[in-house]
Symmetry: C2
Subunit: 187 residues, 2 copies
Protein backbone atom coordinates (compact mmCIF):
# COMPACT_ATOMS: atom_id res chain seq x y z
CA UNK A 1 0.00 0.00 0.00
CA UNK A 2 1.74 3.07 -1.25
CA UNK A 3 0.64 6.42 0.10
CA UNK A 4 -2.00 8.09 -2.10
CA UNK A 5 -0.83 10.80 -4.44
CA UNK A 6 -3.80 12.89 -3.35
CA UNK A 7 -6.28 12.58 -0.49
CA UNK A 8 -9.82 11.66 -1.38
CA UNK A 9 -11.25 15.11 -0.79
CA UNK A 10 -8.78 16.91 -3.06
CA UNK A 11 -9.26 14.22 -5.68
CA UNK A 12 -13.03 14.66 -5.58
CA UNK A 13 -12.67 18.43 -5.88
CA UNK A 14 -10.72 18.01 -9.11
CA UNK A 15 -13.31 15.60 -10.50
CA UNK A 16 -16.15 17.86 -9.36
CA UNK A 17 -14.76 20.68 -11.45
CA UNK A 18 -14.69 18.50 -14.58
CA UNK A 19 -18.33 17.47 -14.09
CA UNK A 20 -19.38 21.06 -13.49
CA UNK A 21 -17.51 22.35 -16.54
CA UNK A 22 -18.48 19.64 -19.01
CA UNK A 23 -21.55 17.81 -17.68
CA UNK A 24 -21.78 14.09 -17.01
CA UNK A 25 -21.41 12.65 -20.51
CA UNK A 26 -18.67 14.98 -21.74
CA UNK A 27 -16.65 14.43 -18.57
CA UNK A 28 -14.51 11.66 -20.06
CA UNK A 29 -12.04 9.67 -17.99
CA UNK A 30 -9.29 11.22 -20.09
CA UNK A 31 -10.38 14.71 -19.00
CA UNK A 32 -10.67 13.54 -15.39
CA UNK A 33 -7.26 11.90 -15.64
CA UNK A 34 -5.72 15.15 -16.87
CA UNK A 35 -7.46 17.22 -14.18
CA UNK A 36 -6.36 14.92 -11.35
CA UNK A 37 -2.94 13.85 -12.60
CA UNK A 38 -3.91 10.21 -12.05
CA UNK A 39 -3.98 7.66 -14.85
CA UNK A 40 -7.37 6.22 -15.75
CA UNK A 41 -6.51 2.85 -14.22
CA UNK A 42 -5.64 4.57 -10.92
CA UNK A 43 -9.03 6.25 -10.90
CA UNK A 44 -10.63 2.80 -11.04
CA UNK A 45 -8.66 1.80 -7.96
CA UNK A 46 -10.14 4.75 -6.07
CA UNK A 47 -13.61 4.35 -7.62
CA UNK A 48 -14.19 0.68 -8.51
CA UNK A 49 -17.65 1.59 -9.74
CA UNK A 50 -16.11 3.74 -12.46
CA UNK A 51 -17.57 6.97 -13.76
CA UNK A 52 -20.96 6.50 -12.09
CA UNK A 53 -19.32 6.11 -8.71
CA UNK A 54 -17.22 9.21 -9.34
CA UNK A 55 -20.35 11.20 -10.11
CA UNK A 56 -22.15 9.90 -7.03
CA UNK A 57 -19.14 10.65 -4.82
CA UNK A 58 -18.86 14.15 -6.22
CA UNK A 59 -22.56 14.78 -5.68
CA UNK A 60 -22.26 13.52 -2.13
CA UNK A 61 -19.21 15.67 -1.36
CA UNK A 62 -21.00 18.75 -2.67
CA UNK A 63 -24.04 17.89 -0.57
CA UNK A 64 -21.83 17.61 2.53
CA UNK A 65 -20.25 20.95 1.68
CA UNK A 66 -23.68 22.57 1.49
CA UNK A 67 -24.64 20.88 4.74
CA UNK A 68 -21.66 22.46 6.48
CA UNK A 69 -21.68 25.85 4.80
CA UNK A 70 -25.39 26.46 4.29
CA UNK A 71 -27.78 24.14 6.14
CA UNK A 72 -25.87 24.02 9.46
CA UNK A 73 -25.17 27.74 9.32
CA UNK A 74 -28.90 28.39 8.99
CA UNK A 75 -29.64 26.16 11.98
CA UNK A 76 -26.85 27.66 14.09
CA UNK A 77 -27.15 30.24 16.88
CA UNK A 78 -25.61 33.12 14.91
CA UNK A 79 -27.45 36.32 14.18
CA UNK A 80 -29.56 36.13 11.04
CA UNK A 81 -27.55 38.78 9.23
CA UNK A 82 -24.32 36.93 10.00
CA UNK A 83 -25.79 33.70 8.63
CA UNK A 84 -26.79 35.48 5.46
CA UNK A 85 -23.34 37.00 4.99
CA UNK A 86 -21.62 33.65 5.56
CA UNK A 87 -23.86 31.91 3.06
CA UNK A 88 -23.37 34.61 0.46
CA UNK A 89 -19.60 34.33 0.84
CA UNK A 90 -19.76 30.55 0.49
CA UNK A 91 -21.96 30.63 -2.59
CA UNK A 92 -19.77 33.22 -4.30
CA UNK A 93 -16.77 30.98 -3.70
CA UNK A 94 -18.54 27.75 -4.60
CA UNK A 95 -19.79 29.08 -7.93
CA UNK A 96 -16.53 30.95 -8.56
CA UNK A 97 -18.47 34.20 -8.84
CA UNK A 98 -20.77 32.71 -11.45
CA UNK A 99 -18.12 31.24 -13.70
CA UNK A 100 -18.64 27.63 -12.62
CA UNK A 101 -21.96 25.87 -13.21
CA UNK A 102 -24.13 24.05 -10.69
CA UNK A 103 -23.99 20.24 -10.51
CA UNK A 104 -27.79 20.22 -10.35
CA UNK A 105 -27.76 21.70 -13.84
CA UNK A 106 -24.86 19.87 -15.48
CA UNK A 107 -25.56 16.41 -14.09
CA UNK A 108 -29.33 16.31 -14.47
CA UNK A 109 -29.33 15.78 -18.24
CA UNK A 110 -30.24 12.28 -19.39
CA UNK A 111 -28.16 10.55 -16.76
CA UNK A 112 -30.25 7.39 -16.76
CA UNK A 113 -28.68 6.59 -13.37
CA UNK A 114 -31.56 6.54 -10.94
CA UNK A 115 -29.59 6.97 -7.71
CA UNK A 116 -27.79 10.02 -9.10
CA UNK A 117 -31.03 11.65 -10.18
CA UNK A 118 -32.62 10.89 -6.81
CA UNK A 119 -29.58 12.25 -5.00
CA UNK A 120 -29.72 15.51 -6.96
CA UNK A 121 -33.44 15.83 -6.26
CA UNK A 122 -33.01 15.25 -2.53
CA UNK A 123 -30.14 17.73 -2.36
CA UNK A 124 -32.26 20.40 -4.00
CA UNK A 125 -35.16 19.63 -1.65
CA UNK A 126 -32.86 19.97 1.37
CA UNK A 127 -31.60 23.28 -0.02
CA UNK A 128 -35.12 24.60 -0.47
CA UNK A 129 -36.08 23.48 3.04
CA UNK A 130 -33.04 25.19 4.57
CA UNK A 131 -33.65 28.46 2.71
CA UNK A 132 -37.28 28.23 3.88
CA UNK A 133 -36.15 28.22 7.50
CA UNK A 134 -33.95 31.23 6.81
CA UNK A 135 -36.82 33.04 5.09
CA UNK A 136 -39.03 32.38 8.11
CA UNK A 137 -36.34 33.94 10.27
CA UNK A 138 -36.39 36.93 7.93
CA UNK A 139 -40.08 37.55 8.57
CA UNK A 140 -41.90 35.27 6.15
CA UNK A 141 -44.98 33.27 6.99
CA UNK A 142 -44.46 29.52 6.60
CA UNK A 143 -46.20 29.44 3.24
CA UNK A 144 -44.48 32.58 2.00
CA UNK A 145 -41.13 31.23 3.16
CA UNK A 146 -41.18 28.22 0.86
CA UNK A 147 -42.08 30.39 -2.12
CA UNK A 148 -39.27 32.84 -1.34
CA UNK A 149 -36.77 30.01 -0.83
CA UNK A 150 -37.67 28.45 -4.15
CA UNK A 151 -37.54 31.87 -5.80
CA UNK A 152 -34.05 32.59 -4.50
CA UNK A 153 -32.72 29.26 -5.72
CA UNK A 154 -34.49 29.61 -9.07
CA UNK A 155 -32.87 33.01 -9.40
CA UNK A 156 -29.40 31.59 -8.75
CA UNK A 157 -29.89 28.71 -11.20
CA UNK A 158 -31.24 31.06 -13.84
CA UNK A 159 -28.47 33.60 -13.45
CA UNK A 160 -25.88 30.81 -13.60
CA UNK A 161 -27.25 29.68 -16.98
CA UNK A 162 -27.55 33.23 -18.29
CA UNK A 163 -24.07 34.17 -17.04
CA UNK A 164 -22.61 31.10 -18.74
CA UNK A 165 -24.27 31.87 -22.08
CA UNK A 166 -23.48 35.59 -22.01
CA UNK A 167 -19.99 34.98 -20.61
CA UNK A 168 -20.79 37.77 -18.17
CA UNK A 169 -21.31 37.04 -14.49
CA UNK A 170 -23.05 40.33 -13.65
CA UNK A 171 -26.45 38.69 -13.25
CA UNK A 172 -25.13 36.02 -10.91
CA UNK A 173 -23.33 38.54 -8.72
CA UNK A 174 -26.57 40.50 -8.43
CA UNK A 175 -28.42 37.33 -7.51
CA UNK A 176 -26.09 36.75 -4.57
CA UNK A 177 -26.23 40.39 -3.50
CA UNK A 178 -30.01 40.26 -3.57
CA UNK A 179 -30.24 37.05 -1.54
CA UNK A 180 -31.40 38.88 1.58
CA UNK A 181 -34.04 40.82 -0.32
CA UNK A 182 -35.19 37.67 -2.12
CA UNK A 183 -35.73 35.80 1.15
CA UNK A 184 -37.21 38.63 3.23
CA UNK A 185 -40.91 38.72 3.96
CA UNK A 186 -43.25 41.34 2.50
CA UNK A 187 -43.77 44.20 4.95
Amino acid sequence: MRTPAMDNQALLSCIEKVFRLHGYEAASLTLISQATGLERASLYHRFPGGKVEMALSVANQVFLSFQTNVFEVIDSAQKTEEKLAAIQAFLLRFYEEGRLSCLLDTMSLSTQDQSLNTGLKQSLEAWIAAFSRLATELGCSPKEAEAKALGAIVNMQGTLVVSRVLKDNTAFLASISDLGRLLRGAH
Copy 2:
Protein backbone atom coordinates in the same frame (compact mmCIF):
# COMPACT_ATOMS: atom_id res chain seq x y z
CA MET B 1 -32.32 12.34 -56.46
CA ARG B 2 -34.88 10.40 -54.48
CA THR B 3 -37.50 12.32 -52.57
CA PRO B 4 -36.48 13.03 -48.95
CA ALA B 5 -37.96 10.79 -46.27
CA MET B 6 -38.59 13.88 -44.19
CA ASP B 7 -38.52 17.60 -44.94
CA ASN B 8 -35.73 19.63 -43.43
CA GLN B 9 -37.90 21.32 -40.82
CA ALA B 10 -39.35 18.10 -39.42
CA LEU B 11 -35.91 16.55 -39.44
CA LEU B 12 -34.48 19.48 -37.49
CA SER B 13 -37.30 19.27 -34.97
CA CYS B 14 -36.42 15.64 -34.21
CA ILE B 15 -32.75 16.52 -33.82
CA GLU B 16 -33.60 19.55 -31.70
CA LYS B 17 -35.38 17.33 -29.21
CA VAL B 18 -32.35 15.06 -28.84
CA PHE B 19 -30.06 18.04 -28.15
CA ARG B 20 -32.52 19.47 -25.62
CA LEU B 21 -32.96 16.15 -23.83
CA HIS B 22 -29.33 15.06 -23.74
CA GLY B 23 -27.11 18.09 -24.32
CA TYR B 24 -24.55 18.47 -27.08
CA GLU B 25 -22.02 15.77 -26.16
CA ALA B 26 -24.49 13.09 -25.11
CA ALA B 27 -26.53 13.63 -28.27
CA SER B 28 -24.79 10.85 -30.22
CA LEU B 29 -25.44 10.24 -33.89
CA THR B 30 -26.91 6.90 -32.87
CA LEU B 31 -29.53 8.67 -30.72
CA ILE B 32 -30.19 11.17 -33.49
CA SER B 33 -30.48 8.33 -36.00
CA GLN B 34 -33.06 6.59 -33.81
CA ALA B 35 -35.01 9.81 -33.25
CA THR B 36 -35.14 10.68 -36.95
CA GLY B 37 -35.39 7.21 -38.47
CA LEU B 38 -32.47 8.06 -40.77
CA GLU B 39 -29.21 6.10 -40.75
CA ARG B 40 -26.11 7.97 -39.65
CA ALA B 41 -24.72 8.09 -43.19
CA SER B 42 -27.97 9.69 -44.39
CA LEU B 43 -27.62 12.37 -41.76
CA TYR B 44 -24.24 13.25 -43.24
CA HIS B 45 -25.86 13.73 -46.62
CA ARG B 46 -28.25 16.27 -45.09
CA PHE B 47 -25.58 17.84 -42.86
CA PRO B 48 -22.14 17.45 -44.51
CA GLY B 49 -20.59 19.30 -41.58
CA GLY B 50 -21.66 16.49 -39.26
CA LYS B 51 -22.75 16.95 -35.68
CA VAL B 52 -21.57 20.56 -35.40
CA GLU B 53 -23.63 21.54 -38.42
CA MET B 54 -26.66 19.76 -36.95
CA ALA B 55 -26.28 21.73 -33.73
CA LEU B 56 -25.88 25.01 -35.59
CA SER B 57 -28.90 24.28 -37.78
CA VAL B 58 -31.00 23.40 -34.76
CA ALA B 59 -29.93 26.56 -32.95
CA ASN B 60 -30.79 28.59 -36.03
CA GLN B 61 -34.20 26.97 -36.46
CA VAL B 62 -35.02 27.67 -32.81
CA PHE B 63 -33.89 31.27 -33.23
CA LEU B 64 -36.17 31.66 -36.24
CA SER B 65 -39.04 30.17 -34.24
CA PHE B 66 -38.49 32.71 -31.48
CA GLN B 67 -38.25 35.43 -34.09
CA THR B 68 -41.68 34.51 -35.43
CA ASN B 69 -43.42 33.66 -32.18
CA VAL B 70 -41.85 36.14 -29.77
CA PHE B 71 -39.83 38.96 -31.29
CA GLU B 72 -42.16 39.75 -34.19
CA VAL B 73 -45.22 39.40 -31.97
CA ILE B 74 -43.74 41.99 -29.63
CA ASP B 75 -43.10 44.36 -32.52
CA SER B 76 -46.55 43.81 -34.06
CA ALA B 77 -49.60 46.05 -33.84
CA GLN B 78 -51.58 43.81 -31.47
CA LYS B 79 -52.74 44.95 -28.05
CA THR B 80 -50.13 44.42 -25.37
CA GLU B 81 -52.23 41.91 -23.47
CA GLU B 82 -52.76 39.88 -26.63
CA LYS B 83 -49.04 39.85 -27.32
CA LEU B 84 -48.41 38.61 -23.81
CA ALA B 85 -50.98 35.84 -24.10
CA ALA B 86 -49.60 34.69 -27.46
CA ILE B 87 -46.05 34.57 -26.11
CA GLN B 88 -47.12 32.67 -23.00
CA ALA B 89 -48.90 30.10 -25.15
CA PHE B 90 -45.86 29.71 -27.40
CA LEU B 91 -43.42 29.32 -24.50
CA LEU B 92 -45.63 26.73 -22.80
CA ARG B 93 -45.69 24.74 -26.00
CA PHE B 94 -42.03 25.21 -26.83
CA TYR B 95 -40.86 24.04 -23.40
CA GLU B 96 -43.55 21.32 -23.29
CA GLU B 97 -44.88 22.81 -20.06
CA GLY B 98 -41.47 22.70 -18.45
CA ARG B 99 -40.62 19.12 -19.33
CA LEU B 100 -38.16 19.96 -22.13
CA SER B 101 -34.99 21.92 -21.42
CA CYS B 102 -33.75 25.07 -23.13
CA LEU B 103 -31.07 24.81 -25.81
CA LEU B 104 -29.29 27.74 -24.18
CA ASP B 105 -28.81 25.52 -21.15
CA THR B 106 -28.07 22.14 -22.71
CA MET B 107 -25.81 23.33 -25.52
CA SER B 108 -23.72 25.88 -23.64
CA LEU B 109 -21.59 23.34 -21.77
CA SER B 110 -17.99 23.03 -23.00
CA THR B 111 -18.92 23.07 -26.66
CA GLN B 112 -15.57 24.44 -27.80
CA ASP B 113 -17.32 25.43 -31.04
CA GLN B 114 -17.00 29.19 -31.20
CA SER B 115 -19.76 29.88 -33.70
CA LEU B 116 -22.26 27.83 -31.69
CA ASN B 117 -21.41 29.66 -28.47
CA THR B 118 -21.63 33.01 -30.24
CA GLY B 119 -24.97 32.05 -31.79
CA LEU B 120 -26.42 31.09 -28.41
CA LYS B 121 -25.17 34.34 -26.90
CA GLN B 122 -26.67 36.45 -29.68
CA SER B 123 -29.98 34.61 -29.45
CA LEU B 124 -30.17 35.30 -25.74
CA GLU B 125 -29.30 38.96 -26.29
CA ALA B 126 -32.04 39.26 -28.89
CA TRP B 127 -34.49 37.67 -26.46
CA ILE B 128 -33.55 40.09 -23.69
CA ALA B 129 -33.86 43.04 -26.07
CA ALA B 130 -37.31 41.92 -27.25
CA PHE B 131 -38.59 41.39 -23.71
CA SER B 132 -37.21 44.83 -22.86
CA ARG B 133 -39.39 46.41 -25.51
CA LEU B 134 -42.40 44.52 -24.13
CA ALA B 135 -41.56 45.64 -20.59
CA THR B 136 -41.39 49.24 -21.79
CA GLU B 137 -44.84 48.81 -23.26
CA LEU B 138 -45.95 47.50 -19.86
CA GLY B 139 -44.94 50.69 -18.14
CA CYS B 140 -41.25 50.30 -17.40
CA SER B 141 -38.66 53.00 -17.79
CA PRO B 142 -35.94 52.08 -20.31
CA LYS B 143 -33.48 51.15 -17.56
CA GLU B 144 -36.10 49.26 -15.55
CA ALA B 145 -37.24 47.43 -18.67
CA GLU B 146 -33.91 45.74 -19.31
CA ALA B 147 -33.73 44.57 -15.68
CA LYS B 148 -37.27 43.18 -15.82
CA ALA B 149 -36.61 41.46 -19.13
CA LEU B 150 -33.48 39.82 -17.80
CA GLY B 151 -35.31 38.86 -14.63
CA ALA B 152 -38.15 37.19 -16.50
CA ILE B 153 -35.74 35.13 -18.63
CA VAL B 154 -33.61 34.26 -15.59
CA ASN B 155 -36.78 33.09 -13.89
CA MET B 156 -37.68 30.84 -16.81
CA GLN B 157 -34.19 29.36 -17.07
CA GLY B 158 -34.06 28.78 -13.33
CA THR B 159 -37.48 27.15 -13.15
CA LEU B 160 -36.60 24.93 -16.10
CA VAL B 161 -33.53 23.62 -14.25
CA VAL B 162 -35.43 23.24 -10.97
CA SER B 163 -38.38 21.55 -12.68
CA ARG B 164 -36.03 19.11 -14.39
CA VAL B 165 -34.25 18.19 -11.16
CA LEU B 166 -37.44 17.92 -9.09
CA LYS B 167 -39.32 16.20 -11.91
CA ASP B 168 -42.14 18.63 -11.12
CA ASN B 169 -43.02 21.41 -13.55
CA THR B 170 -45.03 23.50 -11.05
CA ALA B 171 -42.33 26.17 -10.81
CA PHE B 172 -42.07 26.56 -14.58
CA LEU B 173 -45.84 26.85 -15.01
CA ALA B 174 -45.84 29.59 -12.38
CA SER B 175 -43.01 31.35 -14.18
CA ILE B 176 -45.07 31.54 -17.36
CA SER B 177 -48.20 32.61 -15.52
CA ASP B 178 -46.22 35.36 -13.82
CA LEU B 179 -44.68 36.64 -17.04
CA GLY B 180 -46.91 39.71 -17.13
CA ARG B 181 -46.19 40.54 -13.51
CA LEU B 182 -42.46 39.98 -14.02
CA LEU B 183 -42.32 42.42 -16.95
CA ARG B 184 -44.66 45.10 -15.62
CA GLY B 185 -43.26 48.35 -14.27
CA ALA B 186 -43.44 49.27 -10.57
CA HIS B 187 -46.46 51.50 -9.88
